[in-house]
């Protein structure tokens, strides 16, 4: 961005080191601070007991429960969710050659929400803890399946058709969600849970959620890295990419499924956390340039610290009340995005 940062490009490793430092700092604050004041040395003792090998003295079970069962998984899940969403966003922006694309642009996050809302309204979630997340992942993948089926002719999937089909499916699923929620209005408990879930957050997330997110994250990241270079070439248009050797249909499918898995898994554990997948990849592209071998890992790390930081704000800004994480990310992300838009006018909304 020639105006934005004076043509300066941040060094990749410096950027990653700074990101890692921020992530550790936010995670540290998240572990040591909370609504219950704890002694720093007690917190350290708990962490040492769980993370370091060898025998350690017994910690206060109350402190242990707060630090290891409440705060630690919350931080870890926040980092994973942020990373997955930012990575999926970077992929979608590359695939659609449009910096305004978000992870759920092909209907995957709304689809995940539909899956979860379905599980919650029909009481499945009450009988089985993992019902909502599993339905959410299924909803995301099903949405992508529908959209790609609609957009594919003779083995060819034009991205513009894909985009339009995604917009249509998003609208349809949003309507389905509203209808499901309206149906459940009399059951106060179900409606409350849906509303909480829709607003997004990592409150009360336990290790089970981290483990649940892990396979999707690993699979999604692996596919993303494997097809990172193909995205660089797709930025130059499909004709150029194909002539330089990219199997474009295969690359598009791989990128779409990878992003759907990442988005679906993230939405499954945290609900809809907006703006991370839109703003973070955009910012990282401004700083590091569009080469995806650098952009993708940097977006993942940035998403991770951004959401851990946003969750800290969510917990503390109106303590002891908690603000929803999705509200915080939108509150921080939207003005920042507008700032970029105003300062650099056309340059942010590039795709012509």
């Amino acid at each position: 961005m020639r105006v934005a940062f004076g043509g300066y490009r941040a060094g990749f490793w410096w950027y990653m080191a700074a990101g890692l430092t921020l992530l550790l700092a936010f995670a540290g604050i998240g572990l040591f601070r909370g609504s219950v004041p704890l002694d720093g040395s007690d917190v350290l003792a708990v962490l040492a007991r769980h993370l370091l090998p060898g025998e350690h003295g017994l910690a206060d079970p109350r402190v242990d429960a707060i630090v290891w069962s409440l705060r630690a998984p919350r931080v870890v899940v926040a980092a994973m969710v942020g990373g997955c969403l930012a990575l999926a966003g970077a992929q979608m922006q590359g695939l659609f050659r449009n910096p305004l694309a978000s992870p759920g642009i092909v209907g995957t996050s709304t689809g995940a929400a539909t899956g979860a809302v379905f599980a919650l309204t029909f009481g499945l979630a009450g009988s089985f803890l993992l019902a909502a997340p599993l339905f959410a992942v299924a909803g995301a993948l099903l949405s992508l399946l529908i959209v790609t089926r609609i957009a594919t002719r003779d083995g060819y999937t034009p991205v513009t058709t894909l985009l339009l089909a995604g917009v249509a499916l998003n609208a349809l699923l949003a309507a389905v969600n509203s209808w499901l929620i309206a149906r459940s209005w009399e059951q106060y408990e179900a409606a409350r849970r849906i509303a909480y879930w829709m607003m997004g957050g990592v409150t009360d997330r336990g290790w089970v959620h981290a483990w649940m997110l892990l396979p999707g994250m690993v699979i999604g990241c692996a596919i993303a890295v494997w097809f990172a270079r193909d995205l660089d070439l797709l930025l130059e248009g499909e004709e150029v990419a194909a002539s330089l050797g990219v199997d474009i249909e295969r690359a598009k499918r791989a990128v779409l499924w990878s992003a759907a898995i990442l988005t679906g898994s993230a939405v499954a554990v945290s609900g809809v956390v907006g703006f991370v997948g839109l703003v973070v990849p955009h910012l990282v592209r401004l700083l590091l340039g569009p080469v995806h071998r650098r952009l993708l890992p940097a977006a993942f790390l940035t998403g991770a610290w951004f959401v851990v930081g946003a969750d800290l704000l969510a917990r503390t800004v109106a303590a002891p009340q908690e603000v929803f994480l999705g509200v915080v990310t939108a509150f921080v992300g939207a003005p920042f995005f507008l700032f970029l838009l105003v300062r650099h006018e056309g340059e942010v909304a590039v795709s012509r």
Binding site: M1, L233, L235, E239, A242, S243, G245, R285
Partner: protein, 266 residues
């Protein structure tokens, strides 16, 4: 013309009865064209004759509706894209890039068919990129963003990316349209040298006199059909130019190549 030892002889690229239909219209039909190794072919024709379409078919970027494209005797469509890209490079007409690659990053995209998926470019690749940047006179621009380049600079960068692929067959769509006189002649000279070294080059050109001077063969397209193909002296004559281009061509004396002065038809 003998192939230089450094470059393997280019494979023969041919189109057999090639035709393509889009939205019920034949953009090109019944085209038989052979691109021999170590040859520079210039494709000429009026606007909309199907010149760019011809290059797309030869590159394998578009599927043929009828006929076949063969590379070294094998069906181009059946070849894995990566393998085809190592042998045939295609430079489309200049399009403004929207993403902010540096010139070096942009040219390195041409290494895709040779790169390892996980480790990317090696130092040997980087040296080769430097050479390509040098050959097209854009080494000084290496760290510039491609979005800030002038049309001519961008065109030379595209040529560098094409060279970066190390392909033996180069398909260039109007590679000189934005170049100043000196750079235009440089580029045609470069294409000429590449052909002399054993590669085959197919150029879409609007300048018929340049085509006559630099090309071994000229292919004339009109309304989606190949109307003539052969050595410039055989093909380019006032009669054909009048029929295809609707111009009055007056031969210029004192040149070995068939060059003309053009005037509108009365």
């Amino acid at each position: 013309m003998t192939a230089a030892p450094a470059v393997a002889a280019a494979p023969r690229l041919e189109l057999v009865g090639g035709g393509v239909e889009r939205r019920g219209r034949w953009l090109l039909r019944g085209v038989d064209l052979v691109v021999e190794p170590a040859t520079l072919i210039s494709v000429v024709g009026p606007n909309g004759a199907g010149k760019s379409t011809l290059l797309r078919l030869l590159s394998g970027a578009w599927r043929l509706t009828e006929g076949r494209a063969l590379l070294g005797g094998f069906d181009l469509a059946a070849l894995p894209r990566r393998q085809a890209a190592r042998r045939v490079a295609y430079v489309p007409q200049t399009v403004r890039p929207t993403f902010e690659f540096t010139v070096r990053e942009f040219v390195t995209l041409g290494r895709y068919p040779h790169e390892s998926r996980l480790f990317g470019t090696r130092s040997a690749d980087r040296e080769w990129i430097d050479r390509c940047l040098e050959d097209t006179d854009v080494l000084a621009l290496a760290e510039r963003r491609v979005t800030t380049l002038s049309g001519g600079e961008l065109q030379r960068v595209l040529m560098a990316r094409c060279l970066a692929t190390e392909a033996e067959v180069l398909l260039l769509d109007e590679p000189t349209s934005n170049l100043d006189l000196a750079h235009g002649l440089d580029l045609l000279g470069l294409a000429r040298n590449l052909a002399c070294e054993g590669r085959s080059v197919v150029l879409v050109l609007h300048d018929l006199n340049a085509a006559a001077r630099f090309a071994d063969r000229v292919a004339v397209l009109d309304a989606g059909a190949l109307v003539a193909e052969g050595a410039p002296a055989e093909v380019l004559n006032p009669d054909l130019l009048r029929r295809v281009f609707n111009v009055l061509a007056v031969p210029l004396a004192g040149s070995a190549a068939p060059v003309f002065d053009f005037e509108p038809l009365p």
